[in-house]
Amino acid sequence: MNVEDALKEAMAAQVADVHASPSLGQAVRRRHRRRLARHRAAGAAAVTVVVAGAIPAYGLLNSGPASTAGFGGSGIGTSVIPTTPPAGPDAKPMPGRSADGEPPATLPWDAESGAPEGAATPPPEGSPGDPTQAPPAGEPAVDLPQELGDLGDGRTFAGIHVGYLPEGLVWGEWSGKDGFGKSSATTSWMRPGDEPGSYIVQIIVFEGEAGERMKESLKAYRGHEDATPVKVRGARGVIANLGEGSEVTAEGTPTILWTIGEDIVVEAMMSPATKEGLGSEATERELKKIANGVRLAR
């Protein structure tokens, strides 16, 4: 018997007792009703923001589907970011703007519909930005680590401040410490309504031992033929798609790594599903804007 046949037999035996429940249809419809109720509530909240006024319109980086304002949609081309550009090259980016003064990107699909109606292929179900993966109302959320405590909007942590993020993101309400080596810290941002623990943008800060290790990785990535060396505010950095084993691979997670100050290496990544919606070039632009918006906060 070859390994393919043996594997097939093993898989068949493994799932022989797995049967869908007769009440599956009811559960699906219940889930659907809960989803509708949740998004009706979210839509009402967003409409309130628009009606409150003082919201300048911008040409958005990506014209997504018509959607609910405030959830990354571009249907009415509005944004809550201020209109005045930064005062000079050394000025800190205004909240919600990149260091070069560009408005934030709108995410490629909205939290309400998941994808434009009629699109050939909706975004992958279960992607980090997939609202259908959110736990139904009233059900317990995932127990996420809170190792850095309450970070507010999450933008200031581990000695850095994140000045720019794509529009519509909120802190993921979790943080981890030393999970990526001693003296590393991380947190992430997602869209309102996304499943707890999912991310659109995640940032990891490496210092100490972890920083030294990542400096070596940064050097190696910069020499890789499929990676793109970049400068982030004059410092060496690199953009690459990194796989599950941190290897450079076309199908990996779009990631930018750079140094900030003497001893800190920062890694920012966008979810592969977001890249699918934005496209590679726009994703790279966003990563650069995120990186350029990061400052030391000590």
């Binding site: 898989m11 797995v18 869908a20 249809g25 419809r29 992958p124 599950e244 084993g245």
Partner: protein, 166 residues
Amino acid sequence: MTEEEETAFEEFLAARSTALLRTATLVCGASAHDAEDLVQGALERVYRHWPRIRHDNPEAYARRTVVNAAISRSRRRKVIKEITFARPPDREAPAADLDLRDALLTELRRLPARMRAVVVLRYWEDQSEAETAAMLGCSVGTVKSQAARGLARMRARIGAVKGITV
């Protein structure tokens, strides 16, 4: 949805939901509860788009949705686990007396999520390389290499443990 569309959705569930649940169980490599939750989420999406997709191979749409959800969930679980517990040690293969089936399934669960999905779709679902590539949104070449690497890992690990050739 019209009553006729509701009935057609029920028939679709009766015919395909067990197969989808089995595929999800194998691809996400997790508990039956996780797989069921994942399939419910995928089928809610199918239900939402049912009037549009029901005449256009809803089974393929549902399978693609389930598989991508399973891959994504596996990755999220991995990220959270790394953050909370750091990277767990790569355990040695099971003891030599473990039978072939258990060794194969253990090895299957160890594969990276996308590679596991390729293996399940090719050797459990009997999908062609082109169908698998379309479902996962990658090239046929990627499917070939991922399947070959997945099988090679199983062969190597099992051969080392059992001293057998499969």
